[in-house]
Amino acid sequence: MQTRALLSGDEAVARGAWEAGLRVACAYPGTPSTEILESLATYKDIDAQWSVNEKVAFEVALAAAIAGGRSLYASKHVGLNVAMDPLMTASYTGINAGFVAVVCDDPGMASSQNEQDTRWVGMFGKIPVIEPSSPAEAYIFIKEAFEISETFDTPVLFRMTTRVAHTKETVEIGNRTNVALKPFAVDIPKYVMVPKNAYQKHVLIEKRRHLLAAYSESSKLNKIDKGDPKLGFITSGVTYQYIKETHPDASVLKLGFTYPFCDKKITRFAQSVKELVVVEELDPIIEDHMKTLGLPFKAKHETFRIGELLPEHISIICKGGKKLETVSTARKPVLCPGCPHRFVFSVLKKNKAIVTGDIGCYTLAATAPMSALHTCVCMGASVTFHEGFRRVLPEGKFVGVLGDSTFVHSGITGLINAVYNNVKGLIIILDNSTTAMTGGQNNPANGLTIRNEKTKQLSLEALCAATGVDNVDVIDPKNIKELDALIKKRLSENAFSVVIARRPCKLIDRNRAAMPVYESEKCKTCGLCFTIDCPALTKASDGTVMLDSSLCAGCYLCTDVCPTDALRKADSM
């Protein structure tokens, strides 16, 4: 029986994988890939989990495939960096049952710290790369990915981008196929990667590369739309859809099995058209490969390597033009009204701390006028940056700040390192009981599974204490005076301390108190209340405050920072 559903690329991957007999799925949340596991968790016959980080997710899923059940790993592009270690050697061990790593890139960085083109990883790891251009294709291609994985005994990299992952499309869906477990047999030369065995595997990998290239030639994932022979495009991913939209009559070679390349098909296509243009989002991967084939073609100006490629860019690229940079006029993202993090940053700012930050909602504290977070590189780097700064500037007022989920992901290793290597200073864990930035996923510290079922809860305070850190304090950040006193005390000591600022995310705890009272007569228009960057407060032309009742969550932080009592709690009348 077939039915139709409106599915995002992420949901289509989940649906297709489920129908392909998927058994085990692991991921750490990351935009735009998060909904893959959220969706898989709704299928009862899939063993789905939020793993503590991507390396763990990749290894658990890989081992599940080696044990004989089809498995899937999902993450965003930067998440795959964390899993690169197992990925590179998974290419050597190969799999048993099918194993697919779904990785979502974020061109334009809607919610990421960098732009990466994951297609390189396929070339680096010598594993096949499959790229759908729409949710409907993602649904079909993921099934093909499991077949390719098993046929060639290789992990398959399934690469999507934000405009595939977060586009919804009508998809014809089907039923689950029962795929039997593949028998697992001890096979030391295959699964124990010591130099002697790995050398033999490397020989096989180079052979596999040729077999995959031959398959790529015949694969229906690389399709030709025969059109006007005057103009031909070679493309992959969502860019294909833009070309069909803007140049409906052109000929197109659409690569869905991007790596290894189908050189013969590419050459035949190139020779069949008068003018050839290669259009791809982000890095020049098809372009660079085309150069090795010695074929004449046009490619995008290098300014188009930066940011999202849009439909209106296709014609400019054909004419050899450059990308015109436009200034975004979008409203800047800010911490939600009532966010508990805002209290912590208000205190840190007041104490003139230099804050080494991390990946999460709290990174938004770096934006003006708050400007209270000063570094952000990757998951867990708040703790290690705190240490690195203190190694050179031991007297500085450095504070490392990260969330509960990020701490479990990779903050804990940096903390062990810091204690072991005798650093002093202060780490603050903003424990809001969720993985908030990606939309509120459970993690070990809140004691709930991906299906919201109770599990063993990780005690952050016991874990921190076990590292040997000098002090571990737990405090509700809404008690702002106590928080201020505690931070001052810990920063003045010759010790290494952890403060756990614990209060649930405002999107979990939706209780709202009444709006503060504002008396403009008492207001000296000092502007201090605006430094907390609360969306519910706006400045009138005369410098006084306008409160937005639809946004205010009644957290009263503005009343704490107001020096003249012009803003005060509603119940203190």
Partner: protein, 175 residues
Amino acid sequence: MNKPKTTSKSNDHKKIWNVFFCGTGGQGVLTASEIAGIAAMNAGYHVKKSEVHGMAQRGGSVESHLRFGNEIYSPLINPGEADFLIAFHSGEGKRMAGFLKKGGVSLVGYLENPQTQPSDKRFVNTFYLGILSAYVPIPLEAWHDALQGKLKRFQKENLEAFDQGKNIGMSAKPA
């Protein structure tokens, strides 16, 4: 599923409908575009809908591109090609005005006119969808199925707001 009927003159089978939704986080922009997308799917169209979300903040810009027709390629509406602009926030509506095509309809006008207001401001999303329903060839049943499938609370109130929007849209729409 049935393909859309091609009998009525507004139902040219090559016509692609472009509906641009915008507003700020927490206003229900994505829920509204989701319901419209499901209604279009229920009516048998090929639907694509694209949005950027991920930053879990409230108050940031949110936009959703909804396209439906016989066959849709790009999931994005090009500037100057939206048939309808549905803004939940006046500032965002002004910012995105360039997406509207010449002769396109901005539904913001209804909210700015005291004569065409929803009775209950809480259900402005479904009120908007009701107005939209007066303009696009999607049968009422397809809308109702989408609304009932997607809205878990205040179904009655939402359906009333939808009907009110529909009636206002029907009487205001140029013949």
